[in-house]
């Protein structure tokens, strides 16, 4: 029954959305803000990758908000999964997963690519203002790299939770501090500081690489914490 009524309304929605789409200027959007940014990004921010200019410059607050969301999600996951007062009666045998190492292939492959992943991650983060990619993507790579180490060898390798939370705090705080420094200089929050440097070189775009570094660290720490929290048995922690 639900299926059919759902189908009915869904088809209605499809029709209406298609009508709306038909009214949209597909492929030739007005781009008022977009063009303004494309024109001004070189001088105002100085990053070759305009998306980075937008993410960290024009819409830096969005990025801060997004980091906060990740932080909130990680906090909640931590809160929810590490509650000691648990109702045991409904616990399921399926949940018990072994603490043995994964197989030979996995362990060695991870060992092999771990440094590679680190390098790639750092590269993506530091070149975020020049090429596609940046703090988020690099941070994810870092997080995956570290958490893989733990996941394949749950008993032998462990990441210090305290360390993770200090890194994430530190990264978040430094993002804010970079923003607030501008405030103290009488400018606006998150206003790009430092010189723009030589366009399209590593040391360009003012504070943007620093911000991206903070983002990368934050995302990496956040996601690593998240993955580990999801993966650990709450009984253990």
């Amino acid at each position: 029954m639900t299926k059919y009524s759902a189908l009915l309304f869904i088809s209605g929605l499809v029709f209406l959305l298609m009508v709306i789409t038909g009214l949209l200027p597909m492929g030739h959007t007005p781009m008022l803000v977009g063009n303004a940014i494309l024109e001004g990004a070189k001088d105002q921010v100085g990053a070759a990758n305009v998306v980075t200019s937008v993410v960290l410059g024009y819409r830096g607050l969005d990025t801060l908000g997004e980091l906060s969301i990740l932080f909130a999600a990680a906090s909640v996951v931590g809160l929810v999964l590490t509650k000691s007062s648990f109702n045991k009666h409904a616990s399921n045998n399926d949940d018990k997963h072994d603490h043995h190492d994964s197989g030979f292939v996995a362990v060695n492959a991870i060992d092999l690519i771990f440094p590679l992943l680190l390098v790639v991650g750092m590269y993506i983060i530091t070149h975020g203002h020049l090429t596609p990619g940046g703090g988020f993507q690099g941070g994810v790579v870092l997080a995956v790299a570290f958490s893989m180490l733990v996941i394949v060898r749950p008993r032998r390798v462990s990441i210090n939770h305290g360390m993770v939370s200090i890194i994430e705090s530190f990264a978040g705080v430094s993002f804010i501090v970079i923003g607030v420094v501008a405030l103290f200089k009488g400018q606006s929050f998150l206003q790009p500081l430092l010189g723009h440097g030589e366009f399209a070189s590593l040391w360009s775009a003012g504070t943007l690489p620093l911000l991206y570094l903070a983002v990368g660290l934050k995302v990496g720490a956040e996601l690593a914490g998240l993955l580990l929290a999801l993966n650990t048995d709450e009984v253990a922690s």
Binding site: T2, S5, A6, F9, I10, G12, L13, L16, V19, I20, G22, L23
Partner: protein
Amino acid sequence: MTFLDHLFIVVFISLIAISALRNLRIVDKLAPVLYGLILIMLVRMSSVAYGGDVYLSSVSLDLLDFKMHWQFTALSWYFAIITVVAALASAVFMSGDWGRQYREQGGNYGMLQLALIVNVFSMILLLGSGDLLSLFIGWEFVSWASFLMMVLSPTKLAKKSAVKYIVYAMTGAMALMVAIVMIYSVNNSLEFKQIGEVFTQMSTSSQLALVLLFFVAFAIKMGLLPFHLWQAIAYAETPGPGAAFLGAISSRMGMFTIVLVIVQFIGLGGLKQLGISFVNMQTLLAWVAALTTIIPTYIALQQHDAKRLLAWHGVGQGGYMLLGIIMFDSIGSAGGLMHVLNHASYQAALFMTVVAVMYRTGTSDLNKLGGLVTQMPLTFLVMLIGIIGLAGLPPMNGFVSKWLVYRSLLVNGQPLLFVAAVLGTLGTILSVYKLIHNTFLGQLRLEHQNVREVPWSMLVPMLGLSIIVFITGFMPGLILPWIASVQESVGLPVIAHHLGGIEYAKGGLDMIWVSGILFYGFGVGALIFYFLGGKSKRVHQYDNYAGGHFLTSDVRYHYSNNFYPGLMHLIGGWYRGSFKWLENSIVSVVSFFSIFFENIYRAKQPVMLLLIGVVLALFALYRNLGVGA
């Protein structure tokens, strides 16, 4: 500061004083004094009731762009004086022994006093309202003040009926609100005179809606059909003198607003133009009034609790008032208006007698009383006067107002309504006889052997009220000038009056003559009786027999249970509580929809609701706007 301001200030100070001192004994003495003071102030304002100028208040509140002001017209004054006299009588009644007993039984006496003054305060505020907003505020105040008084009774039924009352009252208030909004939306003004102006500008359907909304609001307060269900139980369950006060005047605030709004501003022409052929708004309202006189009266007949019986009568008598005023002629409207005062006086007196009986015997169940006349003769006298008034027999005041109403109905060519009114009176006579018979006549019950007359603190207000009942019946000319100036102020034809009654081309009424002849007749009868050598013999109360069997003094005989069995059977046949059925069906409809909505809220998958909401919203926009952009 005008005199009206002083009145408001005095009432307000009384409110503060009584609420501050309500838990001290001094309030017993203080409250009657304060009501007396208010009464004196009203008397000093009486010029308005003899054609003088309207009293205006210098206070006008500017709240949120609305200007509120207050005034006292002849109409306000007339209702106010009834209110204050009823409050004074109630306050005196409860100040002495009754209050002591009430306290001992665990009642919250202070709250009762507070509720009384709150009621008086809010009624004066309502009566003094000078525009629609102050009217609405006063209206709400009166509703909540009555609610406050009703909830004081500790019984479960009382609280239930009070809640029922407040739901009805809220419905009425909301109807009034809609009506006010309709008027406001035309000219953005809340003055009273806007009602008339706006009414003429409106379309017929809006006019009809406006009149019906006003009428619903006022009818709920009046307890007119079909909104009468809340009133009787709620009033009957109110503790003692509170019931007397509420029964006397509270629901008449509906009458006040009907006169103020419907009679004054919409008028006969307005009502008559709404309708098809011979059925117009006037006849509709008249028939509502007529049915209100009949049905509640016969429900009263079925009651076996004295307070309920009286309270149901209170509902029924409201019908006469509306029936009179809706005729829009001089005598009819005078009868309707006068009936307010008359009803207030004897209703308060009757409630007080019942409370007095309860005070001594502890019950108001008509099946458990009887023969109290020997023990409480003065109370009996008051009740006798009261029921004569209630039944509308000469020489009491109820006769005058009912006569005026009947007369008006006949003159206006409404024989069917006349018959209905007479039917109502018939039921009244039957049931008041039941009341007095079951309470005071017959043989005294064993358990009431030691019952004594009630103390003077209770007797004085009862006797005072019964004197009013008699005097205003004997000399209606005392009241009629007030009525005349009310009629003048609301634009009705004015009644021609003198001390004994009215002058009317098609046959006037002079109560001094009527009463004179009545007493003369009694006197002549007595003389004939004694001259023909009539001998009287005092018979003891127990010295009677039934069906040929002499009764011994240890078997008390009093025929009270299952009074009027044949008539009851007859009534039961056609009256099966259809209004109760109506009320229940409204509740079931609400219940149905609430279950429906509850099931929506219990959706298994709430996202479905999101989807439906989005699709419907988009579809509505699609329908409205098309895709022409």
